[in-house]
């Protein structure tokens, strides 16, 4: 193949410029499956490799990306009291969404991949694919208005302390994407919790607060829309009176399911036209993504099933107690709010940080469901529990495996 020859010609020298060579190698193996052949052991190999595995996960969350981008714009205009119909003002909503999302996506990848490339070059091995998924997940779990420097710091923290310090892909203890989020959560709590952070494009969420359109809104997109004869961004847009920006979870904490349904309808929550982290609002698309992962056997259905079981069991116990309005919320209603499904499909199923035995996966999933709901319902300090529950169980996954493995060993010894 002529193309291969061309690429081979421009290969940088490994000794002289290791970083350049690492980058070259990463892109080369991205474009071409290497020509290496099996040696010793099996002579044929399964067509599956880590790149394909990771890209399957990334593909399965694409619908969340599409919807999330649009929903950023939709929430922005709902706050301004304009284009209340979901598809009204389509171009404006999409444009605003892209303006918010693309920088987040780019910064997450540039910082994360940059660090990965640096460490790979330093250790002298190929760039591992783990960050393909972490990098795709991080934008989805951030609020749309997150300052980019904050995101960069969080990603750097997650990749360096959470992953490279442990030896890279496959060795980390905690989920890298969640580590980035938890860093923001504890270091800069106001940017990622409360009612202020889920609507983008305003100075703050208060009656009459002005919009913060930049050059991309008024210069770039407005001129395109002008030329196309479409409406543009109006700099006079401001938050309408009485708009709170509260998420369903915040409302449920105050007044249970009744309070939630006064603001959001059930189908609205199901389809995700609600404020929240970028990718976690549309439950239908998340379930579709989860199904892709289950059918292709990329993610463990045991963990997902375990989490649902844990959620149902715990909710039922809380329902039975029923001492606060939030405790009376049923499990189906819990599924519709917050980020349970997203965490279940994409976060808890990370094979590196989850339990590695099949029995352990059930225990791991059920415990996440249990602890996550407890945090969500009982703890006023944390509006949502999955991030903390998953990181907590990440820590204990090796312990769960230890007991599963020990029981296997005991069984074998008892035979003798």
């Amino acid at each position: 193949m002529a193309l291969v020859d061309f690429f081979k010609k421009i290969e940088p020298d490994k000794k002289k410029s290791p970083l350049l060579h690492t980058a070259y190698d990463a892109f080369f193996t991205f474009a071409f499956t290497p020509n290496t052949v099996t040696k010793g052991g099996v002579h044929i190999r399964d067509g599956m490799d880590l790149k394909r595995l990771m890209v399957t996960v990334v593909i399965s969350m694409q619908l969340c990306y599409l919807f999330g981008t649009y929903n950023i714009g939709h929430q922005h205009f709902v706050a301004a009291g304009q284009y209340l119909g979901f598809l009204e003002g389509f171009h404006l909503k999409l444009a605003h969404g892209l303006i918010q999302l693309l920088p987040i996506f780019v910064v997450a990848h540039v910082v994360g991949l940059g660090i990965e490339f640096y460490f790979a070059a330093k250790k002298g091995h190929a760039v591992e694919e783990g960050f393909l998924v972490s990098g795709a997940l991080i934008p989805l779990i951030m609020p749309p208005d997150i300052p980019l420097w904050m995101l960069a710091v969080a990603v750097a923290f997650a990749v360096i302390i959470g992953k490279e310090a442990f030896g890279g892909t496959g060795m980390n203890i905690w989920n890298v994407a969640l580590l980035a989020r938890v860093f923001v959560f504890f270091a800069y709590p106001l940017t990622i919790s409360g009612d202020q952070c889920w609507i983008s494009g305003y100075e703050k969420i208060a009656d009459g607060a002005a919009s913060t359109y930049g050059w991309f809104h008024t210069g770039f997109f407005n001129s395109i829309f002008d030329w196309l004869g479409l409406e543009g961004f109006n700099t006079a847009n401001k938050v309408i009176d009485g708009f709170s920006g509260a998420t369903p979870l915040a409302l449920a904490y105050e007044g249970g399911w009744d309070k939630v349904t006064t603001v959001f309808s059930e189908s609205q929550m199901l389809w995700g036209a609600i404020p929240g982290s970028i990718g976690e609002t549309n439950k239908i698309f998340i379930v579709l993504g989860a199904l892709i992962l289950i059918v292709t056997k990329v993610a463990s259905w045991r963990i997902m099933a375990g989490m649902v079981v844990g959620l149902i069991g715990t909710t039922w116990m809380l329902n039975a107690l029923g001492s606060t309005p939030f405790m009376t919320v049923t499990w189906t209603q819990h599924l519709m709010m917050g980020s349970f499904l997203f965490s279940m499909a994409f976060m808890a199923t990370d094979p590196v940080t989850a339990s590695s035995t099949n029995t352990g996966k059930w225990i791991y999933g059920i415990l996440i469901g249990f602890i996550g709901i407890l945090i969500r319902v009982m703890n006023p300090a944390y509006p949502e529990g999955w991030m903390l529950a998953i990181l907590f169980l990440n820590t204990f996954a090796p312990t769960i495996d230890y007991f599963v493995i020990e029981s296997n060993i005991k069984k074998r010894l008892s035979r003798a």
């Binding site: 290496t36 052991g41 044929i44 399964d46 067509g47 292709t296 079981v309 009376t328 035995t357």
Partner: protein, 539 residues
């Protein structure tokens, strides 16, 4: 476990009820707690009765582990896989885990003459043999089939003999003057060395063992764990023979046995004299027809039927499910053709190392069965039958066979030769958009149905990575073993864990399928061998 599942169902049921009747939550809780308690009490009583029945059954000499003598059927009984009608007698095991790799190049047609002129026996085919065995022949010597070629200086009583008669044409040496192989140019008509066969019903075990060692059939026996030629004083707790091979393109043993039924039966009878336990026969219950009579009607053995995808035919899997290796136990395994050779020795007094060899793989013009002898020359076997281009010749199957040179010889135990394409090509976006069909257990790669025969090549299909995916090895290994944790224990040299996790129950061919499916492309077979060697040194 059943109790747990049941209680869990109950909790779910009660939950659904409570979801309907909101507001009366605490009442519901009370009622369901009472219901759970009541049912648990009843369950406990029934369980007690069931256990008493089992104890009673045990007193009458029945095995409550194997058959259900309890009050009610267990879950395993309800969902027990159905035996095929021909699988009568013995135990039946059906596996869901595993994967059949369907490749092109299956052998077909009747058995042809091999027309092989050169044969070789390689000391390196035997684990643990010293690198420079004592070669008792010189180039130019005439030998008969059954004449000694060499022996291990550590164990001079075990002879390694010539499979054919003819002239010794080469004693090749490898690294550090080790013996690579002893090559014999075969006569047109094979003449055999005559042995005085003892009557197996009369001689004692020690004499029998010495006779087997002298006549050269002893090295046909494989000792587990560690895959060794056994020492003469070892008494195996059991002997296992798998009568079918499920590896990709493996020869059909029904072809092999036809005409050799009496030799096979004789071999089984000899083996029965050697073990303190029994001879176990693993039989094929995968097809819609019964295996050949030579297998199905074998006498003096314990039969076990196995159904399910590869590796159901691996003897290691069969041992695990019938009489697993305990502690420092040793068991022996033999291939079907090894048993036939053993039987023939006692029927004729001669060492008949005839082998039906399957020539397989997509890079042969006509894959077929040929009749030849142990250690046949590959060049002679595939003469005029091999396609142009860069090929890989494998002695054995594509999963656990050994790559050999085209001018080399088949392995001592191998009855299959596979020739496939070398896959040393770059593939544009091969990981993202695989353009040619390839076998895979992954749902992300299109499957073309069970009957589609894939073209095999040796590309690694990606680069080696750290262990990432979990549960993948377990999904193709029908054993109660955690392969990934075992591999990590081997890598970290944790002996206690290696043994606890069952390293002694495994050999390379058992984890070969795990290695095939490994997303991170790790060399599991060589890691396992490294662990086995380490454990062997310790013991």
């Amino acid at each position: 476990m059943i109790k747990l599942k049941f209680t869990f169902c109950l909790v779910l049921l009660a939950n659904m009820l409570s979801a309907q009747g909101q507001g009366s939550g605490s009442n519901m809780l009370l009622y369901s707690v009472i219901a759970v308690c009541a049912i648990l009490v009843i369950w406990a009583m029934l369980g007690l009765a069931s256990n008493l029945m089992k104890i009673e059954a045990g007193k009458h000499g029945l095995d409550p582990e194997k058959e259900n003598y309890g009050v009610f059927p267990g879950l395993t009984d309800l969902f027990k896989a159905k035996r095929p009608s021909y699988a009568v007698g013995g135990t039946f095991h059906k596996f869901d885990k595993g994967f059949d790799i369907n490749l092109e190049g299956k052998p077909t047609g009747s058995i042809e003459e091999g027309n092989v002129s050169r044969f070789a026996i390689r000391p390196t085919d035997f684990n643990g043999m010293s690198p420079i065995p004592k070669v008792t022949v010189e180039v130019g010597d005439e030998v008969k089939a059954g004449d000694v070629l060499f022996f291990d200086k550590k164990r001079p009583e075990i002879n390694y003999v010539s499979p054919v008669s003819g002239e010794v044409v080469a004693v090749n040496r490898g690294d550090k003057r080790s013996i690579a192989d002893v090559v014999i140019l075969a006569d047109k008509n094979i003449s055999y060395k005559k042995f005085n066969t003892p009557d197996i019903n009369e001689i004692d075990r020690a004499t029998l063992v010495n006779f087997l060692a002298e006549t050269g059939v002893w090295p046909l026996i494989n000792e587990r764990p560690f895959d060794l030629v056994p020492a003469l004083d070892v008494v195996p707790v059991n002997i296992f023979i798998s009568t079918f091979d499920t590896a990709p393109l493996a020869p059909n043993t029904n072809v092999v046995i036809s005409g050799n039924e009496s030799s096979f039966q004789k071999g089984l009878e000899v083996l029965a004299k050697l073990t303190s336990g029994s001879v176990h026969l693993g039989l094929d219950a995968r097809c819609d027809h019964a295996p050949a009579n030579g297998f199905a009607n074998a006498q003096n053995v314990k039969k076990h039927w196995f159904a399910g995808p590869h590796p159901a035919g691996n003897v290691g899997i069969q041992i695990h499910h019938t009489a697993p290796i305990k502690g420092s136990d040793k068991v022996w395994t033999l291939g079907v053709q090894d048993v036939i050779t053993l039987g023939n020795l006692f029927l004729t007094g001669e060492y008949h190392a005839d082998r039906i060899v399957a020539l397989t793989g997509g890079e042969l013009h006509t894959p077929k069965y040929v009749k030849t002898y142990q250690g046949a020359s590959v060049a002679d076997l595939v003469k005029g039958n091999i396609k142009e281009g860069e090929n890989r010749v494998i002695s054995g199957d594509v999963l656990s066979g050994k790559q050999i040179d085209a001018d080399s010889f088949l392995g001592f135990k191998d009855d299959q030769l596979t020739v496939i394409k070398e896959g040393n090509d770059y593939e544009l976006f091969g990981w993202l958009l695989p353009l040619s069909p390839r076998p895979s257990i992954s749902g992300t790669i299109p499957s073309f149905g069970k009957d589609y025969e894939y073209e095999a090549n040796t590309n690694t299909r990606g680069e080696k990575r750290a262990f990432v995916v979990t549960g993948q090895y377990e999904s193709v290994l029908p054993m109660d073993i955690y392969p990934q944790h075992l591999m990590k224990a081997i890598i970290t040299n944790d002996f206690e864990k290696m043994e606890g996790l069952g390293i002694t129950e495994l050999t390379e061919e058992d984890v070969a399928l795990c290695e095939f499916v490994c997303t991170s492309k790790n060399p599991l077979q060589s890691i396992l061998r490294q662990g086995l060697n380490a454990v062997q040194e310790q013991s």
